[in-house]
């Protein structure tokens, strides 16, 4: 699953950039809130960046399922199986 691995790495890279940490320190099992120290506002900010990077919208109803790094990866694998590389996204006029 090259694509799945790609997505996992992109999620961890995005998190590392957001948290200003080394990507190697971000583990799939890390809980966003307890292990990575993201409060609700920081989680929303992170998801905003992931929405941008993967060109999709994450509805509020899906938020409760996004607890760990692996949850986010699995979610994106379901939602964006053929997501383009992060920089290729055209800017939508609505943002």
């Amino acid at each position: 699953m090259t694509n799945g691995t790609d997505i996992a790495l992109r999620v961890r890279t995005a998190l590392a950039a957001f948290l200003k940490r080394d990507v190697a320190t971000i583990k799939p099992g890390d809980v966003l809130r307890d292990d990575l120290g993201l409060d609700s506002l920081a989680t929303i900010e992170l998801l905003y960046q992931i929405e941008d990077a993967f060109d999709l919208e994450i509805p509020d109803t899906d938020l409760p399922g996004l607890v760990t790094v692996a949850d986010v990866t699995a979610y994106l694998q379901r939602r964006a199986p053929e997501a383009p590389p992060a920089p290729a996204k055209p800017q939508s006029p609505s943002r």
Binding site: D39, S40, L41, I44, Y48, E57, P59, D60, T61, L63, S92, P93, S94
Partner: protein
Amino acid sequence: MTGLGVTSAIGIGARHFWQAALAGRSGVSKLTAFESMPMEAYRSQVAGQIHDFSVGRYIQGALAERVDRFAQFAMVAATEAVADSGLQLDREDPRRIGVMVGAGMGGMVIAEQEYHRVYQDLRPNRVVPNFIPEVTLNSASGALAIMCGAKGPNLTISTACSSSAHAIGLAREAIRAGRADVVIAAGADASIVPLTFAGFCSLRALSTAFNASPEKASRPFTRTRDGFVMGEGAGALILESLDHARKRGARIYAEVAGYAATSEAHHMVVPREDGLEIANTMAMALSNARIRPAQVDYVNAHATSTPIGDVVEIRAIKHLFKRRASQIAVNATKSLVGHALGAAGALAGIVCALTIDSGLIHPTINYDDPDPDCALPGISERAQERSVEVALLNAFGFGSNNATVVFRRCSI
């Protein structure tokens, strides 16, 4: 409190507002304020809008035309409140009349219009000359002073959603400190505009699950609540010293008996989950009023219909009032009009005054699926009849800000 005025999504005028509130009418509708935008890009598409508002229908003159929508709302509400109080402003000492207005956002209509002119049209030389006076947060308090000839203290309080609760509390303190005989306390906001609304959407603060049934979207204390509904409007209250009110034989709705302002010093947009800071704020306000928790009959809850906020407030009420919590009537004015931000505290204060005056507690609409974690026997989807001697108003704002105001029936 001797005069009330309301500009709201369920009625212009305190009488219309109160009748609609008691009848449980929702002011929340499909978002139509900026239909030229790609509406599908807004997660939330409902709002408590005041439709077809035209200030000229209520107030004549250039001043009202030259202020932003939120200040127009405030002018309409204050005009009604002054008339309702029976005050003859031209017979008062103008230096003894103050104005205190709570506003969370300011002149957002002109702000967004002129941002467009600069950033999109690239025409900074065509920004309207009145932009600065109109966008400024204190334009509403300035306009009220000019309209009423009020030369006493003129302040704008901006603490987001608790702004006008503080305006009421600080108006009382100004009168008690002898700085004014009369204070026009008001709150106003009109921020249902494309950028500001989008900002609240991005913050994931707004309800998104009820876009197809707008009147159901503001549903405090229910299991299915999923965020607040943006509202707009204004409320105005005339506060005066007891002596001043008695001398002129004024009708007194209620006394503003106590007030507390605190900060949780915790988080910009989320309250402490244990509710202890809110409980402490209510306790301080009651202490300020020299009233015991056991004397409280009614709480006008902040209750915005957010998953966290509602449960924390109820936790705080249970913590402070203990067994008394099950005997207190509690309602959420935001179930009717959405969250009018800087106007919310003033509208809640008006509800407290009318509740004490009428013995009627307006329903919390959409309370059809109570969340067990928010449940109290005193919350009802129907109007309740009950004599209220002491009422509490809670208001909490972004920036970790809490306010409680205590109202008491004036027995003199």
